[in-house]
């Protein structure tokens, strides 16, 4: 193959004007025509910054100092007009709302061509074609408020495909997508890549989900430097993931627990390629000797929902939901985008009213309780961190709830510092919020609710956009709270690993209906529920199938209890 470089960094260093130290250091990286590359790294490591150097936002939009050289399709971004560059690179940003600028799907897809003064008739036909490629042709007229998160993402993709760019850049395309939609998104990106031969660069934390389809190379960044640049098999067989706090695919962890040494020869990059057959005995051995964790029986109800129905306008969003949550539980609410998970929690917290049915909080009907009264019982960490932040310094933000409750300043100091340390944001205490990455902001909002120590905490997507190290820290912290103080924790999530690992029980919603309320390990291995809830089986399920364990649920249980033991020791 005759390889033509399209993205070339040599000795490239970049420092944001507001920063003292460079965010990217000595980057040497070449990406060739038609390659598909995955960029991974901890939160704040500079992945998005690197992406912005590729698409020209740096130096065109963000101020800072550059050293070294960067060359995109033979152009030097700092010397080229931004518009010329934008003809070669299409970017899909993490924030799908921000880039949906049209009043309807079709208009948004056509946006780039409108700017190019393409006549209206041609606009319409080309927008339709692009929409067909991504499967949106039936919602062309829908307004941004009428499409789901996954459809917004597809709109963005269609919006750059229409312009015949050569390089596609995705910054966390999977954040906030439900597992099945995420899977579809990866399949779609892969199909576009294969069909068109475009160069694809993906920045993502959810590595196993990206590796649902092939990638050519994985690039690992930490603290602004490229640590590794290798094929998926080599990368996964190395110890780099553990060293840099990145989550490896579950089946790899499982094999390691079973005592298998992972080598590149096993082709461990994808669940479809890994050689399980020759390690079947080791896994079976481990499986048969393990003892699943004992079941705890809980007594007291903290939340009881009876026949709850709700609609914002005329369309029913929640339909006769019934369930009970016991004190001290840690459970997950999962389900497809738009299923009503956030709505349900807002009803519980009193953010929305006008529902039918009953909500009981610690045994009392919540109907007459004000938002503030409910907040003393249920703390709600919202999906979008920007919606919660009112102060400009991080310390003050975390302290706000305590201050409004008139707690003495020295106690505030102590509690805030402790919470910030646990959430891994203590070093930012004196930073302004706007210098943080999305993931970092998310941690601030979690801290600002945790610090109030409510009886129940509902976390909406606590780990979206988080790296594995902070994910583990936060989840372990929540688990400690849950175990030691007995706080009930409800997690709304699209992350199947989180649900499997940290929750015993899951409630699955689909289109406003409760389709399952059962053991998490059950949910993930029951094809029917997976289908209805727009979820995705874990790779452990596939391992169980391919080595011939009849009941995959048991393997999941064994895996989780092993994992918890490991965590307990470390």
């Amino acid at each position: 193959m005759n390889k033509k470089p399209v993205i070339q960094f040599s000795d490239f260093t970049f420092r944001y004007a507001a920063q003292k130290h460079p965010t990217l250091k000595n980057i040497n990286l070449t990406i060739y025509q038609g390659e598909k590359v995955l960029i991974i790294g901890p939160s704040g490591s500079g992945k998005s910054t690197l992406g912005n150097c590729i698409n020209g936002l740096i130096p065109n939009s963000y101020k800072g100092t550059l050293e070294g050289e960067v060359m995109i399709k033979g152009m030097i971004p700092s010397q080229e007009s931004f518009h010329k560059l934008s003809k070669s690179i299409g970017t899909v940003l993490q924030d799908t709302d921000g880039q949906f600028v049209g009043l309807s799907v079709a208009e948004d897809i056509a946006f780039a061509l409108e700017n190019d003064c393409v006549p209206t008739d041609e606009l319409k036909s080309r927008a339709k074609e692009a929409a067909e490629v991504v499967g949106l042709d039936h919602v062309l007229k829908n307004s941004p408020q009428e499409v789901s998160g996954g459809q917004k993402q597809r709109t963005s993709l269609a919006g750059i495909l229409i312009d015949q760019v050569d390089i596609l850049l995705f910054d966390e395309p999977l954040a906030n997508l439900d597992p099945a939609t995420g899977k579809n998104a990866m399949e779609l990106i892969d199909r576009v890549h294969k069909d068109s031969g475009k160069t694809v660069v993906i920045i993502e934390h959810r590595i196993e989900d990206v590796l649902h389809r092939d990638v050519d190379r994985i690039i690992l960044i930490d603290e602004g430097e490229i640590i590794a640049d290798m094929g998926p098999h080599e990368m996964i067989a190395s110890d780099l993931f553990a060293r840099y706090g990145i989550r490896e695919p579950l089946y790899v962890t499982l094999l390691k627990y079973a005592g298998v040494t992972i080598t590149p020869e096993m082709q461990p990059g994808y669940i479809t390629t890994i050689d399980l057959a020759s390690h079947k005995d080791e896994v079976l051995d481990w499986y048969c000797n393990a003892t699943p964790a004992a079941h705890i029986i809980r007594e007291q109800d903290v939340i009881r929902i009876a026949d709850l129905s709700f609609a914002y306008t005329t369309k029913t969003v929640l339909d006769e939901i019934d369930f009970t949550i016991k004190k001290g539980e840690m459970l997950a609410i999962v389900g497809r985008n738009g299923a009503g998970k956030s709505t349900l929690s807002m009803l519980v917290c009193g953010f929305e009213s006008g529902y039918q049915g009953e909500i009981y909080l610690t045994g009392e009907n919540a109907i007459d309780k004000s938002i503030t009264e409910r907040a003393a019982i249920v703390g709600y960490v919202m999906q979008n961190p920007n919606h919660m932040i009112t102060e400009h310094l991080i310390f003050d933000e975390v302290a706000l709830g305590l201050r409004l409750r008139n707690i003495p300043e020295d106690e505030i100091q102590r509690r805030v510092e402790k919470t910030m340390e646990i959430c891994g944001i203590d070093r930012f205490a004196k930073w302004p919020i706007n210098a943080l990455s999305y993931g970092q902001k998310k941690r601030v909002t979690i801290a600002s609710i945790l610090v109030l120590e409510p009886e129940i905490i509902i976390l909406d997507e606590p780990t979206a956009g988080q790296d594995y190290r902070h994910y583990t820290e936060i989840m372990e912290f929540l688990k400690t709270l849950n175990r030691d103080i007995g706080i009930t924790i409800i997690l709304i999530t699209h992350d199947m690993h989180l649900m499997m690992e940290y929750t015993k029980r899951s409630i699955v919603l689909s289109e406003g209906e409760l389709v399952a309320d059962t053991d998490s390990s059950d949910v993930l291995t029951n094809v029917d529920i997976v289908e209805k809830g727009s979820l995705k089986e874990t790779s452990i399920y596939h391992v169980a199938q391919s080595i011939g364990i009849d009941n995959p649920k048991n393997l999941v249980d064994v895996f989780v209890s092993h994992e918890q033991r490991e965590r307990g020791q470390s």
Partner: protein
């Protein structure tokens, strides 16, 4: 707030007009009524308004709330005008035909009544066109129509973006105010005025900050897709002018011109004076 102005697609004479001709019609009618004080001209416009309303197939009951609001507003304005300046009619028309005398200052005259009725019908005549324009035109067509009338595409696009983000920012506003209340912010009316302003600012601030973030994001996304690379742009949502469009434009402009003529040559001023 999910859908602006509850625009809904329909197949009526008015819905099928292009945005440009509706905008021209709307402006022509609005300016006609703004400039004249002749009840006869206003009556003509009112008749047109009623016809357009009928032709659009929109039901009055859909507009109940708006109509109640407007009626209250107009009644209030009617009373206030009389309270503030009961002799304004006399000054305008130069005569005095007393109908009823409340006190030395408050004397109801035919002149005052004509003036106030003319004013009220002015309001009554402008409102339907604004409403109808928004109810029968797809928001996507606003921007392209404004641009075709000569407004710079950047301004037109800014307007379109405003409409795009109002529902999003509204739900954000609702959520933020709820979240702040949950954290202990008290926005109720019992608070002292000064304190209340402060608390409101606390609530507005995250909305503003997240909006500033949004601005950066949207501007990046637009730049990345080549916004403003040329001196003009085309629009996905724009319609060719058909026969009805041309008729609408000609007719409404003719009404506007006619009203100007009446002002200039018949009334010799903005007022029609039946008293002399």
């Amino acid at each position: 707030m999910k859908k602006l102005f509850n625009y809904s697609e329909a197949d009526s004479l008015i819905h099928n007009l292009s945005g440009v001709s509706k905008l021209i019609g709307f402006l022509a009618m609005t300016f006609t009524v703004m400039l004249t004080y002749d009840p006869r001209v206003i009556a003509v416009v009112l008749v047109i308004a009623v016809f357009v309303f009928w032709a659009s197939g929109i039901h009055l009951r859909d507009l109940k709330v708006v109509i109640i609001y407007i009626s209250i507003f107009m009644a209030l304005n009617f009373v206030m005008t009389f309270l503030f300046d009961p002799q304004y009619g006399e000054q305008l028309y130069g005569t005095k035909h007393v109908i009823y005398s409340f006190s030395a200052r408050y004397v109801l005259t035919q002149e005052q009544l004509l003036y106030q009725l003319a004013k009220i019908s002015k309001y009554a005549a402008t409102i339907p066109f604004g409403l109808l324009f928004f109810l029968t035109t797809h928001p996507s067509e606003f921007a392209s129509s404004m641009n075709r009338l000569g407004i710079h595409y950047k301004v037109a696009f800014a307007f379109s973006l405003t409409l795009r983000y109002i529902p999003d920012i509204y739900s954000e506003y609702m959520i933020i105010s709820k979240a702040q209340q949950a954290r202990g912010l008290d926005l109720s009316a019992q608070q002292k005025f000064g304190k209340r302003v402060k608390e409101y600012t606390k609530m507005i601030f995250p909305l503003v900050m997240s909006s500033l973030d949004r601005i950066d994001n949207i501007a990046d996304a637009m730049d990345l897709r080549g916004f403003a690379k040329h001196k003009k742009r085309t629009w996905y949502n724009t319609r060719k002018l058909l026969r009805n469009d041309k008729l609408t434009i000609v007719f409404t402009l003719a009404v506007f011109a006619g009203s100007l003529m009446i002002t200039a040559f018949v009334n010799h001023g903005r007022f029609w004076n039946p008293f002399i």
